[in-house]
């Protein structure tokens, strides 16, 4: 069942790559849409099969693969991975939908996107550490090509930077995985068998730090983020949607699953530092976004800030804050996708992303009124205005973590305020004001170009007024996860058990 999610896109990628030359770009896009649409439907089916009251992994699949390495084909979903898989299917479909009819070299483009989609789905459902790593590294080359072939200015620089950073992140993660498996003398990389490991705290902290830096590059957290603005800006709109909407989630998902799940004791020890780290990330992202003159860069920095909330929620590790963090991952995925989509449309129609040039797009006749309206809506969603998914997620995070870390939480609330500041700057400079008569002959926005943003806006709105549909999937999983994080008495108890065994 879960295998379908991985292999249908991969197979689709192979088929699309081999389509004959006379198939037009339009038809290729349509077939890619069909494949991802089928995948989306299949995701709904998986969600329907999922039992939300059960905490463990469900719909598991197991095939022995390479026993020598302890690498087995082991899949399964729990509440966290399920929502991530759903997000992946949705964003992939939307990204393909918002790509152009006449993309150059369409075979390569769509097969790379499908490859990424299958790989990301695989990483989310893999229950074997090495299998996760395999899928994680699988994104490397397709994204490199997507950025460096179809990107904007400075794409070569951005793509190389992305490649090196991501490869480095992969290595740190692999080192942590190898270290964990070898130090626990486990015979395989199976996730569940590693869960109850009993390493000394010092070693746990070292391994956890490796993971944090590895995944922190991908998320990205503040000093490890420098690849992000370049890459997001250089990538074309569909690719940026995938990068920000899905790939960044691999980082936070990795932190949840492997950081929090495998090293609960070390996590509890490091949590205060992580909360501070998250706060720095949030404030830095917001402050840097305020200073930008390019709307795409602004959105890119907003992404850094918003991913900081996820880390804050994870650091607090109460069940409320974790639910909030998972919701924030989804909300951020949706909001970033809509923002990149709209920015892409604006750039295409107007030909610039410069805040000093853009003006008066809300003009109902000669401007881009529908796009501007959607931009205002999504800017508000990103800034955490109630009624939309962003608010729910941030509020859950703040409420969940206030009891644990009051000061970082308050500073993050300030960060939300700063988010509102730069989005108001952005909206003010782009949507309001007067159109410049010299350049104001923009091409019309077609209905089909509005649809992706409309779908995303609807979703953001629905999840904002009916948050239960966002939260219910992961509640049970997260509660169980929290119960494994020890308090001091628990640690002592464990030690006692160990002694008894000896």
């Amino acid at each position: 069942m879960l295998s379908t999610l991985i292999w249908v896109p991969m197979l689709g990628a192979a088929i699309i790559g081999c389509l004959p030359k006379n198939v037009s770009s339009r038809q290729i896009r349509l077939s890619a849409l069909l494949i991802t649409g089928a995948m989306l439907l299949w995701t709904f089916w998986v969600m329907a099969q999922f039992d939300i009251h059960q905490p463990g992994f469900q719909l598991t699949e197991y095939l022995p693969w390479i026993e020598t390495l302890g690498l087995n084909y082991q899949l399964g979903v729990d509440g966290i991975s399920l929502v991530m898989v759903a997000l992946n299917s949705l964003i992939t479909w939307i990204a393909i939908y918002s790509s152009h009819d006449n993309t150059e070299r369409p075979r390569l483009f769509y097969s790379m996107i499908l490859l990424i989609s299958g790989g990301v789905a695989g990483a989310f459902v893999a229950q074997n550490l090495l299998l996760f790593f395999l899928f994680y590294e699988l994104e490397l080359v397709p994204f490199y090509l997507l950025i460096s072939i179809w990107g904007g200015d400075k794409r070569s620089y951005a793509a190389t930077k992305f490649l090196l950073y991501t490869a480095l992140s992969g290595i740190l993660i692999l080192a942590a995985f190898l270290g964990l498996v070898w130090l626990t003398h486990a015979t395989s990389f199976a996730y569940e068998s590693l869960m109850g490991q009993m390493l000394p705290l010092g070693l746990q902290i070292i391994l956890l730090s490796l993971l944090l830096v590895g995944f922190g590059i991908k998320i990205p957290l503040v000093p490890l983020h420098t690849w992000l603005p370049d890459t997001y800006v250089a990538a074309s709109a569909p690719v940026a949607m995938l990068l920000g909407g899905v790939l960044a989630k691999l980082g936070t998902y990795g932190i949840f699953r492997f950081g929090l799940g495998l090293f609960p004791e070390a996590w509890a020890t490091l949590a205060p530092w992580l909360a501070i780290w998250a706060t720095v990330s949030v404030l830095y992202g917001a402050a840097a976004a305020i200073a930008q003159k390019d709307i795409k860069r602004m959105v890119a920095y907003s992404s850094i800030g918003h991913m900081g909330y996820v880390l804050l929620g994870a650091a607090a590790h109460t069940s409320l804050s974790l639910v909030g963090a998972v919701s924030q991952m989804v909300a951020h995925g949706l909001i970033l996708a809509i923002l990149f989509n709209l920015v892409g449309v604006i750039e295409e129609k107007i030909g610039t992303r410069d805040l000093n040039v853009l003006n008066g797009l809300l003009n109902p006749i000669r401007g881009l009124p529908s796009i501007s309206a959607l931009l205002i809506l999504s800017g508000m969603a990103s800034a955490g205005i109630p009624g939309m998914a962003g608010f729910i997620a941030e509020f859950l995070v703040f409420q969940g973590s206030y009891a644990e870390f009051p000061i970082p939480t308050l500073l993050c609330v300030v960060g939300t305020g700063l988010t509102a500041v730069y989005f108001v700057i952005l909206l003010n400079r782009t949507c309001f004001g007067k159109l410049d008569n010299a350049i104001a002959n923009f091409p019309k926005v077609k209905v089909s170009e509005r649809i992706p943003a409309l779908i995303l806006a609807t979703l953001i709105f629905i999840l904002g007024v009916q948050p239960a549909w966002l939260v219910r999937w992961s509640e049970q999983t997260v509660t169980t996860m929290v119960s494994t994080i020890p308090t001091v008495t628990n640690i002592a108890h464990n030690l006692e058990k160990q002694h008894l065994k000896m």
């Binding site: 460096s148 072939i149 070898w182």
Partner: protein, 517 residues
């Protein structure tokens, strides 16, 4: 000694695979003498058939219950079967790619194949050689043939220079090796068989004496030359650039595999008493090779030179398995060499194909190639990405296994260095992919603009295509379907008494058990 007894001592059945290669070699020579140039249409296939027959014969050698032959001079254990297979396979693919190349250079094909088969023979014997003289003779057979192959296109000054350089360095490093070997003979009280030497040294109580250490260092100088480990690598870039490309393909896989086979056999059976020392020396070599190979490859403009530095670096990766010295370590080496065969030969096939069509091998000349030659682009991209260790290609699984084995053996620093340098390697491998795939049509190089229409009908191009496609498929799926290969590599280590013995002793240097005769 009566005849029956002598025959059983000789046990000539163990070298049937080599026998087939010898017959093929003679066949090629004689056919060439009788029929002349007109035989060149099919003589390549004859040689490939011979090599494949030899591989089939190797299959029947698997798990030979009586592997010691020729009065102890040759050991046909599973370890040697594995390495002989790798060498024969690399020679077979090399011949496939050389038919057109040699033809186009206007030299005789049969002579080329004959020398290549001699080199193969030397390398195969080297993998099983169990005695000092035998080791030296087969090493020289391999080396001398390699010098000849390097200078085969004798009108090309670069090829001449490469041959001279290879000859001078090779001959002197063989001399150093020979000096080390002669020291071993003296130290052990006149023993030439590897296990007897170990016993002799122990009996003479020379355990970790200066003499043994000097012999060890001299021997390692010879081995390091063959596997092109830094700092014995200086010949590699120049020879790779000057020599005919198929020769390089063979040197980078067949000759290197033979070097590693020699390293395993010699170091584990002769030097168990100084295991700590040779591990240390090889750690240094691996660190140097990993850093130097990967960093210097960044700055190369010629494809063949880049692959030369990459092969230095890849030797560094393989050495991790050798240093680990565990069951997993040896079998990860073998697995990596096997997948290295596929990736490297696939890559070199593409390089040959490109230089046959355009006459150049500068990296910048590859730009925009995807439009003119998709198969070449696909082949070269996948093989280079696999060399860089990108999943799910064969090289990824090879590297994971090496790192896994290294980590299990506690070589944390080395594994971390391997990981970091493999990021560096991704950079220069993907630079070529970028040239071919990413460049726009208007950024096409001159060579690609004037790219001849693709046709596979010229004599010798079809085998090149077959070799390319087969190695390409193997590179793409040997990782995913690697279980049989893993089992093969593991079994060959598990069934080799020599290695099992050495693993019992290797962690501590103090104890030595009697080696298998």
């Amino acid at each position: 000694m009566d005849f029956v007894n002598l025959a059983s001592q000789l046990n000539a059945g163990t070298i049937v695979p080599e026998g087939i290669v010898i017959i093929t070699f003679l066949g090629v020579l004689i056919v060439d003498l009788i029929l002349g140039r007109s035989s060149s249409r099919w003589i390549g296939y004859l040689a490939v058939a011979g090599l494949l027959a030899s591989i089939v014969a190797l299959y029947f050698q698997w798990d030979n219950i009586n592997p010691i032959s020729f009065l102890g001079a040759f050991n046909g254990d599973d370890l040697s079967v594995m390495f002989r297979g790798i060498i024969a396979l690399s020679a077979a693919v090399t011949i496939l790619m050389s038919i057109r190349y040699v033809e186009q250079s206007g030299t005789a094909l049969a002579e080329f194949i004959a020398i290549l088969l001699t080199a193969t023979l030397g390398a195969m014997f080297l993998s099983g050689a169990n005695e000092l003289v035998m080791i030296f003779i087969s090493l020289e057979t391999l080396s001398i043939s390699s010098y000849l192959l390097t200078g085969y296109t004798k009108r090309d000054p670069r090829s001449n220079e490469a041959a001279l350089k290879y000859l001078l360095i090779g001959a002197s490093s063989t001399a150093v090796f020979l000096y080390g070997v002669s020291l071993l003979y003296g130290l052990s009280g006149g023993q030439t068989q590897l296990s007897a030497i170990a016993n002799g040294i122990e009996a003479a109580n020379l355990g970790q004496s200066l003499g043994v250490v000097i012999a060890l260092v001299f021997v390692i100088a010879g081995i390091g030359f063959k596997i092109s480990a830094a700092p014995f690598h200086q010949w590699t870039p120049d020879v790779y650039e000057g020599a005919p490309t198929p020769v390089i393909a063979f040197l980078s896989v067949g000759s290197k595999a033979a070097g590693f086979a020699l390293a395993i056999r010699l170091l584990t059976s002769v030097f168990p008493l100084v295991a700590g020392e040779w591990r240390f020396v090889f750690t240094a070599l691996a660190v140097l090779s990993l850093i130097l190979g990967n960093v210097v490859a960044l700055a190369q403009t010629s494809m063949k030179r880049m692959l030369a530095y990459s092969s230095i670096a890849q030797a560094g990766f393989v050495m991790i398995g050798l240093i680990a010295g565990t069951q997993a370590g040896y079998s990860s080496m073998m697995f990596y060499l096997l997948v290295y065969l596929f990736m490297n030969l696939c890559g070199f096939s593409c390089v040959i194909l490109f230089s046959l069509r355009t006459g150049t091998d500068q990296i910048t000349e590859y730009s925009g190639l995807y439009q003119k030659d998709p198969l070449l682009t696909l082949g070269l991209s996948l093989s280079l990405l696999s060399l860089g260790g990108i999943p799910p290609l064969a090289g990824f699984f090879g590297k994971i296994y090496l790192f896994w084995a290294g980590w299990q053996a506690g070589l944390y620093g080395l594994v971390l260095l391997g990981l970091v340098t493999s990021v560096v390697s991704i950079y220069y491998y993907i630079r070529v992919v970028k040239m071919m795939v990413v460049k726009e049509p208007q950024e096409m190089s001159d060579a690609v603009k004037n790219y001849p229409p693709i046709s596979w009908n010229l004599p010798g191009l079809r085998p090149l295509q077959v070799g390319l496609v087969v190695t390409l498929i193997a590179t793409s799926i040997a990782g995913i379907l690697s279980n049989p290969l893993f089992t093969l590599a593991n079994n060959s280590v598990a069934n080799t008494p020599m290695l099992q013995q050495s693993m019992l002793v290797n962690p501590q240097v103090s104890v030595v058990t009697t080696q298998q005769p």
